[in-house]
Amino acid sequence: MSSTNGTTNGTVKGAALSLDQARRYARHIILPEVGPVGQRQLLAAKVLLIGAGGLGSPAALYLAAAGVGKIGVVDYDVVDLSNLHRQIIHGHANIDRPKVDSVRERLADVNPDVQVITFNEPISSDNAFEIIKDFDIVVNGSDNFPTRYLVNDACYLLGKPFVDGTLFRFEGRANVFLPGKGCYRCLFPEPPPPGAVPSCAEAGVLGAMCGVIGTIQAVETIKLILNLGDPLVNRLMLFDSLSMEFREVKIPRDPACPLCGDNPTIHELIDYEAFCGAPVTTLG
């Protein structure tokens, strides 16, 4: 990761800004913490979104608007009417179309600087490394446990930062896993038994909650790209919208973690549907 002033070993990252880009990103560039060099870093960054649903929608929109130069999106679902109360990147015109097509078209309109790479396929142990390896940071907007453990493991094994978020009714959580500083398995060593935890489809979710948590994921991603501030590493942010309260709890790295602990037993991707006892349904 580059230093705060946007240089890597003294070399400025990314191409020089055009006049249009200087206008588009003027309110970023005027921030001393970003500046033209930081904006060039954003334009040179590559971020992968797992899921183009509730969390992926605001994250994609804000990352694209911020000028993150390459955004990958993994989702094999199509847009459904029941998505539209929370998945704000999609609209009526895209119902029944692949979500990744909807995302590509919307982001092209938000910011033509952004290259969108789409993966209209399930992410699995067979393709996760190939999909993730060329990106700098992975943002998780998946909505099922097998995908969550798969992406966690793949990110750790590839050494990629993993920006996580979850939703449940009126509550949300967000945090960042950096390789070597703990992982999702340190937080939850085992998934719940199938059926023990209801999904958003079963329990419901306040649509605007997706905006809060997905946008926090975008902010954390931008902070990582620019090496700014204190990311949500080793701490889990909890948001309760009914009390309008943010809290944090600590997430230590678990020395006994089978993936990132002192004596790991997981060295490659496994069968996550078997591990969780449940099939992957949709991503977001």
Partner: protein, 90 residues
């Protein structure tokens, strides 16, 4: 009486309350105290063997009890206990 913050997923087991006060000098005592008034509560957090369920985290203030003394972590009246089941919604 320590305060237990109950996540949305478990609120049906405590009559919809967002937090409950409960007595106990250890976390295990506190959980069983809540369970006396709200039967079924302990079963959400503990396995039938009495061990903590691996997909439900419990925090005393902001510390994960797995890094304290587990269910035998001592409590005082100013402590806040938070329960976090794994969720995957996105």
């Amino acid at each position: 009486m320590a305060n237990v913050r109950v996540p949305a997923m478990l609120r049906p087991t405590v009559g919809g309350e967002r937090s409950v006060a409960a007595a106990g000098t250890t976390l295990r005592e506190l959980i069983l105290n809540v369970d006396e008034r709200h039967p079924g509560f302990a079963g959400q957090l503990l396995e039938p063997t009495g061990e903590q369920r691996r997909f439900v985290n419990i925090y005393v203030n902001d510390e994960d009890i797995r890094y304290l003394q587990g269910l035998e972590t001592p409590l005082d009246e100013s402590d806040v206990v938070s329960i976090l089941p794994a969720v995957a919604g996105g």
